[in-house]
């Protein structure tokens, strides 16, 4: 049964992950991320880490993805960048090659040595006790709920980590406040730089494009380019519809 | 702690640095004051040098004198060890002589852009670096001073140089730094591989005394060869030896007159001095293995330099190429690994310093007057400025090795020594080198006389006739040149004092003083010699 749960949730995770990179509409991509995160939560449950599963849903699927969506909406979904431009020649092919290589590597490590988790939890107290299935079909429940064990670890071995997490979150708040503030005064003009030699060929690069892709937001956008983008997005949507 | 024993060398070395600081502190407007401060500083250093020359114990010139040994960086056991012996003494004297003369020369005619404050402080810093290199007896100290020399020279070329100064200065800097990079690795390898305990030092030591006294015998032959190779590149670039020489013509041509003079007179000697002081005494076995190769590059340098000279149209560039040829003779003398050859090399270094320095002075003065060094446009110097023409002729003669002038005693014994190199070296090869080198002297006569003919003989070209700028030797030039001319003549007529000063130290540097019964491995046949070094290694290993 656990195996079935594992495979189903693994399929959900992979499909979600694939969706994140394949879907052209960023909102859809974010939503398929939710699927992935839910799948992970199911895996946690499968491993009897209930609290983690809950946290996964509450924090990741709930809060983090909401944050993602905010950012996406902030940038504006309709202003998709021209993702068809390849800054480096044959970039896509290389990326695909690299991804395939990584996949093979991970698969090799994973498949060949999957059973070889060598470490033993050195501290017995920290072992998350699991329910034991007895031979006669009944189960002996876990000694204490894993939330208690988690708390125990949190207040002994990881108490320092716990405290500095507060510091980290504070930095995040300060950073967000600082960066979200409206800039004082006018923006400085973009520098007039030549595109680097790697970018110079093979397509003609307009100066605004070459300086900084993110400048497209507030700089004047090339009308032709926008239509191309629009077409691209539309095409992507129709593709999805077919799928 | 007596003054003359411990402090003399340090004071002498750092006086110019203090002078540089003083010069920098004087406001820019006080140009005269700046010049006099710089001159006085260099004269004070020279005065200390005179005291050193009189006080030096010539009977014991083989031993280091005025040794000071102080803690510097104890964690890597690098100490502030200084001292001077018969090899270093002439070099120090040469430095102390040339620098004040250069300052006097610049006082009369300052190169553009003027800024005497900067140029004079650079010269003084350079003096400290050069003197420091000659007195250092610790590899790190040596390396530090060796590198310190680089920067002032770089700036001198880059700021006061000719039209192509950027290229020349960068090339100079990068070449030399490339060499010293490998040299540093070699020093470190020696530090870790040598065992100083056999000569009563710490196990890992940078002390040049300990390392040349035999702390290095235990190093395996292959390691020795590699270490020597690193040093070879480092010193060879500075000399410069044949494949690494290309920076020299550019640097010389572009440098201001004083820069060229100091470069020719002292800086090139740092490389050959390194061979004599560090590479050969510390790694005699590797030196013996590399010597035929060094000799080959030396004779290539002699011929190549000479042919290069014949292809030049620029007088300064011609003199620069002649430096390559002359340093080839010095390196040939060194590569024989005999006391005779190395004595000749040291003499050659001094003679080349005096003569080529002088030639660059003249070239500078010619340039000031004619605003060109293109030999096709020059001519008739003997008519328009007869004294200068004669001085040029005198120096050209000295440079081509005319007996009775200093140049002869550098070249001729070097050629002679290669007839009879150390026994461990292949005799036939070196005799072949001798023949080629002798050919080189003929070529030298050829190009120098050709230069003389182009510039001094004939009648002045129309464009320079009745040019009021073309005057004969001026007073400041006389002051700057007279000592050099006198020394060229004096050393040429009576070379013995210099040879006797260097001889003991040279003999000592070729000995492998490791244990009581020292076999003279370099004076055995090739096979026996190598076996002899192997024996030494075994003895060392047996001893612990």
């Amino acid at each position: 049964m656990e195996a079935i749960v594992f495979f189903v949730s693994a399929a959900i995770i992979l499909a979600g992950g694939l969706g994140v990179i394949v879907l052209r509409n960023p909102v859809h991509a974010a939503l398929s991320l939710v699927a992935t995160l839910f799948g992970v939560a199911v895996l946690f449950i499968d491993m009897e880490a209930y609290f983690l599963a809950a946290v996964q849903v509450i924090v990741y699927a709930g809060a983090i993805v909401v944050l993602f969506l905010f950012v996406i909406m902030l940038v504006g979904v309709d202003k998709a960048e021209d993702i068809y431009a390849e800054p480096i020649i044959k970039q896509r092919q290389f990326a695909a090659l690299a991804a395939a290589g990584m996949l093979i590597l991970v698969a090799l490590v994973g498949v060949a040595f999957a059973g070889d988790v060598t470490g033993q939890p050195s501290n017995e107290d920290m072992t998350i006790s699991r329910a034991i299935e007895n031979p006669d079909g009944t189960t002996t429940p876990a000694e204490t709920s894993n939330i208690n064990q988690l708390a125990e670890a949190l207040f002994t071995d990881y108490v320092f980590a716990f405290e500095i997490t507060a510091l980290l979150l504070t930095i995040a708040v300060v950073g967000a406040v600082v960066l979200a503030r409206r800039p004082k005064g006018d923006l400085q003009p973009l520098p007039d730089v030549e595109p680097s030699w790697a970018l110079r060929k093979p397509r003609a690069v307009t100066p605004t494009e070459a300086t900084d892709p993110s400048a497209g937001d507030d700089a004047d956008q090339d009308p032709d380019e926008t239509t191309v983008d629009q077409a691209a997005t539309d095409g992507a949507e129709t593709d999805e519809a077919k799928a | 702690m007596e003054f003359d024993n411990n402090w003399l060398l340090s004071v002498m070395t750092f006086v110019p640095l203090v002078g540089a600081a003083i010069v920098m502190a004087i406001p820019k407007a006080e140009e005269e004051l700046i010049k006099w401060a710089a001159l006085i500083t260099s004269l004070v250093a020279a005065g200390l040098g005179v005291f050193l020359l009189t006080d030096f114990n010539y009977d014991n010139a083989g031993e280091l004198q005025y040794v000071a040994d102080a803690q510097w960086i104890s964690v890597i056991n690098s100490r502030y060890i200084i001292g001077v012996d018969g090899i270093a003494l002439p070099m120090i004297a040469l430095t102390l002589l040339v620098v004040p003369l250069c300052i006097i020369y610049t006082m009369g005619h300052f190169p553009e852009p003027r800024n005497p404050k900067a140029l004079l402080s650079l010269i003084l810093i350079l003096e400290t670096g050069m003197l420091g290199t000659f007195i250092a007896q610790d590899l790190i100290l040596f390396f530090v001073f060796f590198e310190v020399v680089l920067l002032p020279m770089f700036f001198m070329i880059a700021v006061w140089g000719g039209d192509d100064r950027r290229y020349a200065s960068l090339k100079f800097f990068l070449y030399t730094m490339f060499g010293s990079a490998l040299m540093l690795v070699s020093f470190l390898a020696m530090y870790f591989l040598a065992d100083g305990t056999i000569v009563g030092d710490e196990a890992n030591t940078f002390s040049m005394i300990a390392l040349s006294d035999g702390a290095t015998v235990g190093i395996a032959r292959t390691s020795q060869l590699w270490i020597f190779a690193g040093m070879f590149v480092g010193f060879g670039v500075k000399v410069p030896m044949f494949p690494f020489h290309t920076w020299l013509p550019d640097a010389h041509t572009q440098a201001p007159t004083v820069g060229s003079v100091i470069l020719a007179a002292v800086l090139l000697k740092l490389g050959t001095y390194g061979f004599i002081r560090i590479a050969i005494p510390m790694l005699p076995e590797a030196a013996a293995a590399w010597a035929p190769f060094i000799g080959l590059l030396a004779v290539i340098g002699i011929i190549y330099g000479a042919l290069g000279c014949l292809a030049q149209t620029d007088m300064k560039r011609l003199i620069a190429f002649s430096s390559v040829a002359h340093m080839g003779f010095v390196m040939l003398g060194i590569s024989t690994l005999t006391d005779f050859g190395i004595n000749a090399a040291v003499f050659g270094m001094v003679a080349h310093g005096l003569i080529t320095g002088m030639l660059f002075f003249i070239a500078g003065s010619v340039k000031d007057r004619y605003h060109t060094l293109d030999m096709a446009r020059l001519g008739g110097l003997l008519i328009s400025a007869p004294r200068m023409g004669w001085i040029l002729g005198f120096c050209a003669m000295a440079s081509l090795g005319l007996p009775g002038l200093a140049g002869f005693w550098g070249e001729f014994p070097a050629i002679l020594a290669s007839y009879n190199p150390a026994a461990i070296l292949p005799e036939a090869t070196f005799r072949g080198y001798m023949v080629v080198a002798a050919l080189g002297t003929v070529l030298a006569a050829g190009y120098l006389l050709w230069m003389l003919q182009k510039t001094a003989m004939g009648t002045p070209k129309d464009e320079f006739v009745d040019n009021p700028e073309i005057t004969d030797v001026k007073t400041y030039e006389w002051i700057a040149w007279a000592p050099l001319l006198a020394l060229i003549l004096a050393l040429g007529l009576y070379p013995k004092p210099l040879f006797s000063t260097t001889d003991d130290a040279v003999v000592k540097s070729l000995q492998v003083n490791v244990m009581d019964d020292v076999p003279d491995c370099l004076n055995l046949d090739t096979d026996q010699g190598e076996a002899c070094f192997d024996d030494l290694r075994e003895q060392f290993e047996a001893a612990g």
Partner: protein
Amino acid sequence: MSEFLRSYLTVAIFGATGCLLVGAFVGLSALVRPTRPQAQKYLTYESGVDPVGTGWSQSNIRYYVFALLFVMFDVEAVFIFPWATRLEAYGYFGLVEMAIFIFILALGLFYAWRKGVLRWV
């Protein structure tokens, strides 16, 4: 089927029942209510304001700060929860540690408040 999965079966049954009930009631009302379609009735309900433009509108960056603050306290809750379940086991040590934790986070919120990012203008 293992014990732990069996307990989730209950959840599944409840969920299914819930969905069924909603479907049943919506279906029932669709059967009994009158149907008079008008164009206005098919407009998206936006608090009585006419929706203009596409649904994909660009939102204000201020939302982002709110969202981030929300995440921050979400994470805080994650830490508080395990502590709360065994409050007595950690004694004063736990209390002090948690107080420090909350205090630092509260300072961040305080800062954001004083900087005025919580105020909607």
